[in-house]
């Protein structure tokens, strides 16, 4: 008790001669100004290195190749007339939708298998199955490139025992698209697996017991209990993955660089080739801007789901 009194007295004495300092401390102590200073670096970062470049790219897209003249929508009309552009649009959509579908499917199936086995062993299996997600995609894609090698392909070596002729994994349009999607599925499925596994574990056992008492079979349990309980996670994970897959760069760049004959180019890789390698920055900016509508739609849906989830909790 005595200590407290002494402490307070000392503080009062120390504060009185320096009134100016005290008022400054008062301002600093006020909640909103503290909050402002704490979030200032974040705001600056987002404003200068995310928002500004985003709008800058809108401006860049309206310039000519030498970036000396304003051409309005000239770059856009030029793109619309190019066949490669429409090919890239179609390929990006095929790539993103197919890859996300198979990632979600494999993730869902494997999550059920992992959920089925005894708890102690789940950890080990989960740890093993998540490895593709942990390896940097640029590194693992190199391994795939080597597996797909035209003359030394380990897959073709194995398939030759089954009498299946050498497959041109990256040389033929169909197989190149197939390979690119396969690698993306391989890389992304573990993410779905983990998300779905977490969702499966959050379904209370009582619901299944109640369904079993009501005489539900396996499909009915899945359709009326598991899927409705997982709906939110499935929606968010799928939309997330759609954004990431649609904007993918690493895998296509390393595996095919867009070839054969631009048949595997996505928006990101084509924008890189046009904007950086061919040095036509405005056109490259223009190409990458075409990702915005799809990303925006997905983002709006994610935001809606996330907010709904927040309100439920």
């Amino acid at each position: 008790m005595a200590d407290v009194v002494v402490e307070q007295g000392r503080r009062a004495r120390a504060a009185s001669p320096r009134k100016k300092n005290a008022s400054l401390r008062n301002v600093l102590g006020r909640k909103s100004s503290v909050a402002f200073f704490l979030t200032l670096p974040l705001i600056l970062l987002i404003a200068l290195l995310v928002l500004y470049p985003a709008f800058y790219s809108l401006y860049l897209a309206t310039l000519n190749k030498a970036m000396t003249k304003f051409v309005g929508l000239g770059n856009f009309t030029f793109l619309f007339k190019r066949e490669t552009f429409w090919m890239v649009v179609r390929q990006s959509c095929i790539f993103a939708i197919t890859a996300v579908f198979f990632k979600a499917l494999i993730g869902f199936i494997v999550a059920h298998f992992v959920h089925n086995i005894p708890g102690k062993k789940q950890r080990k299996w989960r740890g093993m199955l998540l490895v593709p997600w942990v390896i940097p995609p640029a590194m693992s894609t190199l391994a795939w490139l080597w597996l797909f090698d035209p003359s030394y392909s380990a897959f073709n070596y194995t398939l030759s025992f089954f009498g299946v002729g050498p497959i041109p994994w990256l040389g033929d349009t169909f197989w190149a698209r197939f390979s690119v999607i396969l690698v993306n599925v391989w890389y992304g499925a573990p993410f779905f697996l983990i998300m779905y596994l977490a969702a499966l574990k959050s379904v209370p056992d009582q619901l299944y017991e109640a369904a079993a008492i009501d005489g539900a079979n396996w499909w009915q349990k899945m359709w009326y209990v598991t899927l409705p309980m997982m709906r939110n996670i499935i929606a968010i994970t799928t939309l997330f993955s759609l954004i990431v897959t649609f904007a993918n760069f690493d895998i296509v760049r390393i595996l095919t660089s867009g070839g054969p004959l631009d048949r595997t180019h996505l928006f990101a890789t084509w924008a890189f080739q046009v904007g950086i390698q061919s040095n036509d920055i405005p056109l490259g900016a223009c190409v990458s801007l075409f990702m915005v509508p799809i990303l925006a739609v997905a983002a709006i849906f994610i935001l809606r789901d996330v907010n709904k989830r927040g309100n439920e909790a």
């Binding site: 909640k31 503290v34 909050a35 704490l38 979030t39 670096p41 974040l42 987002i46 290195l49 995310v50 500004y52 470049p53 985003a54 790219s57 298998f113 992992v114 089925n116 086995i117 708890g119 102690k120 950890r123 299996w125 093993m128 199955l129 998540l130 490895v131 593709p132 997600w133 942990v134 390896i135 940097p136 640029a138 590194m139 693992s140 190199l142 391994a143 080597w146 030394y152 380990a154 194995t158 391989w186 993410f191 998300m195 996670i233 997330f240 954004i243 904007a247 760069f249 690493d250 990101a268 924008a271 890189f272 950086i276 490259g284 990458s288 990702m291 996330v306 989830r309 927040g310 909790a313």
Partner: protein, 301 residues
Amino acid sequence: MSTLVIDKAGPTRKLGSMSRDRIWALRWSYFFLVLFAIFFLTPPVYMLITSLKSSAEISAATNPWWVFHPTLSNYVELLTSNQFLRFFWNSSIISIVVVIVTMLISIPAAFALARMKFWGSATLATGVFLTYLIPDSLLFIPLFKMLAVIQDFTGITLLNRWYVLVFIYPTLTVPFCTWIMIGYFASIPKELDEAAIIDGASWLQTLLRIFIPVALPGLIAATIFAFTVSWAQFLYPLVFTTSIDQLVLPVGITTTLIKGDVFNWGQIMTGALLGAAPPLVIYAFLMDYYIAGLTAGATKG
């Protein structure tokens, strides 16, 4: 609430009291799990197999799935090559600095957004989340041009320098880390920091003495995320750096080891494996935090 869920036990089932159906379901589960594990683990295992082969054995086209004359010469060669060590060093220093910068920006911001309701705080939190959804492939061209303009204007060399990546990477890591830290901070009971304030703690003391220790699991998950993202980033360094001494590991391996007609696959696979090693080692030791960060990311705190 995104509290760290570490479920080691799972549903407990007694083996003795199992019906025939369950035993068969279990067997099928294991069968398919093995199949999927083979699919998921083939590329990394094949990396390891190839990295142990000499160039002669690779070009002899013997059974690609087996090493007949294992050798560590690829590892020795890469680990004594100054160029490779330079890539490794660049990657390490960039990732470590980015992790520190990310934490310095996102922890205070998350604290303010989770605990101090101020004008626009809800909008800012949503904005942070939306920023996380903006991919790198949308921003690399304007950022490249921006850096070129700033370089011409100020005379400071920015393009083709590794340190510029330290400024760019936080755009990828900070939004996510802030987002999951908001979740972790929001899950801390209000009574805890109210008690601290009543005891005379300042905001800073509340953050350092209450929030950071209590939300440590979240902090570790965010740190792991920031590190793995900066270690794996490929597009930005590919665009912004070109000289060999400025490259980071993923770009260095793909551009310097794959050049010309001769692919030295033994070395490429060794490099890729060494490049994948740091994230894999972190994952092996901190798997639960890794997974907690992963699942917290897509759901609101």
